[in-house]
């Protein structure tokens, strides 16, 4: 369970941005890939604890799930995988080792307090 330390990193980064711009934040938006190795529920559970005593206390973490997208060498185009247990093209069945998306762990936006 490394989600608490990940949550604390997110808080640090968001706090740094907020301080630099002298703003307060309502929410932090995050892209979370299915292959990031981070569990969404555990991250959300850790969020409140990580925010305690910081400028982000009371803020929300808004998580956008990013599916696994691979490149199919036979269809010659990106495909979204319906399952993490089967890295094969959902249309033609070819093995698809090349991962394009799904490893994201990225802060994409900060929601400012009005």
């Amino acid at each position: 369970m490394h989600e608490l330390s990940i949550a604390m990193s997110i808080v640090d980064m968001a706090q740094e941005e907020a301080e630099r711009r002298s703003m307060h934040l309502n929410a932090v938006h995050l892209e979370l890939g299915a292959l990031s190795g981070v569990v969404k529920d555990a991250l959300l559970f850790s969020w409140e604890v990580a925010c305690n005593g910081t400028l982000l206390e009371g803020s929300r973490l808004v998580v956008k799930d990013i599916s696994i997208e691979v490149y199919c060498p036979i269809c010659q185009m990106p495909k979204t995988l319906p399952s993490m247990q089967w890295f094969c093209c959902p249309d033609c069945g070819a093995p698809t080792p090349e991962v394009i998306h799904g490893k994201e762990l990225t802060i994409t936006a900060l929601e400012l307090r009005q």
Partner: protein
Amino acid sequence: MNLEPRMLEVRRNVLKQNDVIARALRDRFRAQGTLAVSLVSSPGAGKTTFLEKTLTLLKPHYRVAALVGDLATENDALRLARSGAPVRQITTGTLCHLEAAMVEHALEDWDLGQLDILFIENVGNLVCPASYDLGEDLRMVLLSVTEGEDKPLKYPTIFNSADAAVITKIDLAAAVEFDEPTAHANIQAVRPGMQVLKVSAKTNEGMDDCLQFLTKALTERLQKTQV
């Protein structure tokens, strides 16, 4: 009245700090001609036994060393040191994985120019280590026959992040009715094309193939360094 929240777009990788250190380590390994190999597995899959045997067999011919991560105790470092290779323990306390900064710190007074292969044994855990790049050239994921054939399907993230899989304890395969074709199929399902080695560090079965795999990777590394 505008009820739309005011949004500030940013784009920041949460693990950037780790990735920056990992990249610097990778550059150092490359510049010095050192092959860095990390080992990940669940606790008890046989990382330390496999590594002790690997170090012992490689040591007469190559300059090898190891870093070994554990939450507590120096037991694994003591076991690995029996091979005669330089070994350093990284004790993580409560942390369930190694991070690039720990590797950087552990290497502080080591001359990488004196090393052919550096092994990094991660904390036994098939979840958290997947997220952290350690600057390694090769990540080997170990799966013991006693764990069951479906481990790759249960932990696809770490298997997908690895460069080679090693099935360990094959001397016990028959006793636990290990279904090898299914294990292979499951590994290929989550990481198509990944090389799979099988080994018993106890009987030495398969060790030759593992050593060949490592020395081939080292030769390729040295060729790249010389270019």
